[in-house]
Symmetry: C2
Subunit: 232 residues, 2 copies
Amino acid sequence: MKPADILEIKSLKLFKDMETANFDRLMRGAYMQNFPTQIELITEGEPSDFLHIIVSGVVELFATWNRRETTMATIWPVSTFILAATIKDAPYLMSARTLQKSRVVLLPSQDVRDIFKIDAAFSRAVVHDLAQGYRTVVKNTKDLKLRSSIERLANYLLRQNWRAGSTGKFDLKVEKRLLASYLGMTPENLSRAIKALQPYGVTIDAIHVTISDVADLETLAKPTPSIDNPYH
Amino acid sequence: MKPADILEIKSLKLFKDMETANFDRLMRGAYMQNFPTQIELITEGEPSDFLHIIVSGVVELFATWNRRETTMATIWPVSTFILAATIKDAPYLMSARTLQKSRVVLLPSQDVRDIFKIDAAFSRAVVHDLAQGYRTVVKNTKDLKLRSSIERLANYLLRQNWRAGSTGKFDLKVEKRLLASYLGMTPENLSRAIKALQPYGVTIDAIHVTISDVADLETLAKPTPSIDNPYH
DNA sequence: CGTTCAATTGATCAGCGTCAAACTAGGTGG
DNA sequence: CCACCTAGTTTGACGCTGATCAATTGAACG
């Protein structure tokens, strides 16, 4: 692993405040791997041997049951994923696959648990990550249970617009097929939902999104901090 | 607060291993309150001033948006709720109301955060609670996105049967109206789903559930540890 | 330039929600 | 102790949302 990579990892909130000695110990057992696209990194149900950190590329978290599959999240650099399974020494609840050529750091879960037990700053950081993750999933559940698919799409677009600087123009960062699954609908239905938002000033040409009147879209979407604000 | 109550709280995994002095400090700021049924204890969006511990009764966690409401969870004694909001010092994402006359202990969130910062055993326990909660919500999301309403009901009944000792006979612990909302359907649809399970040996008379052939129901429900095992 | 896969479109259908009404049970007061 | 009242539950009819299936168009990549 290059020093620059290690620095970038150390700068993550999860590791920033921990004892340098402990961080170094963690990194000694770590190794970087390069994966091509569409590689399954981890599989639901298996023991969580490694904490993963994505350094470049994109990773999809997905879940399957009875021949059905759904996208749970997409993970962007630089961040960790599957922290809860690692800490609890429990099987993965989700699978992960690369969506692009990706570089991923693998930290042996046992090392993470060992250092979690002795480094107070690290365990506090783990708490904040988990609390954040927990709240994100709760918001997601509310989104799913309380909103129709068009409302979910409208709010998703408003959130992405906000993240991209609220200019009313941005690009989708994932395939529509994947976005549909994440939003809990079929690709066909997403196509129709996009059309249904045209009267509210939304145009999506390939990956290029234009929202001509945010206020108008908001009358439909009715965004609320306790679902749509990622920092709330 | 009675010494017996304090002992019961101390026996919770969350507090069991922490320094006695810190636990005592936490309890000094605590107070027990008695609530009648149908009282809103906390409200979505408000600052999380207290960590709540239910000592007797039942509490429903629910969420609202745009005049719609959904049940997120029911909380049984003795356990804490809304830990993530307390730790992050963030607004509540869910509201809570009593479903019966209930006794609830309120711990000032600031005290919890203060002691969380200085007591390593406590912060580790918080981690395990949050990781557990996180995984529970993820399983819930998979249940919602991957299963039809009948499949969700079938698996819910199998889980409850297992929790009640796998005798094939148990009582529902919540109103059907509430169960329907928790499972993401309407009361009417729950009624019909119950009827649809009759060919699989399920009878529900008022709150009394009978599963005559668990194996048969499982062919429909296809339960899996990574959704249905609460300890997984 | 052709192959492959995503995205779209149309037609159809199933699952589930909505609305209205009847039924039932649990709690309350006479 | 019984009758009544209220609220939860069930049932039926109907309609909408969103899934499925099939075919076509479009775009990316070797």
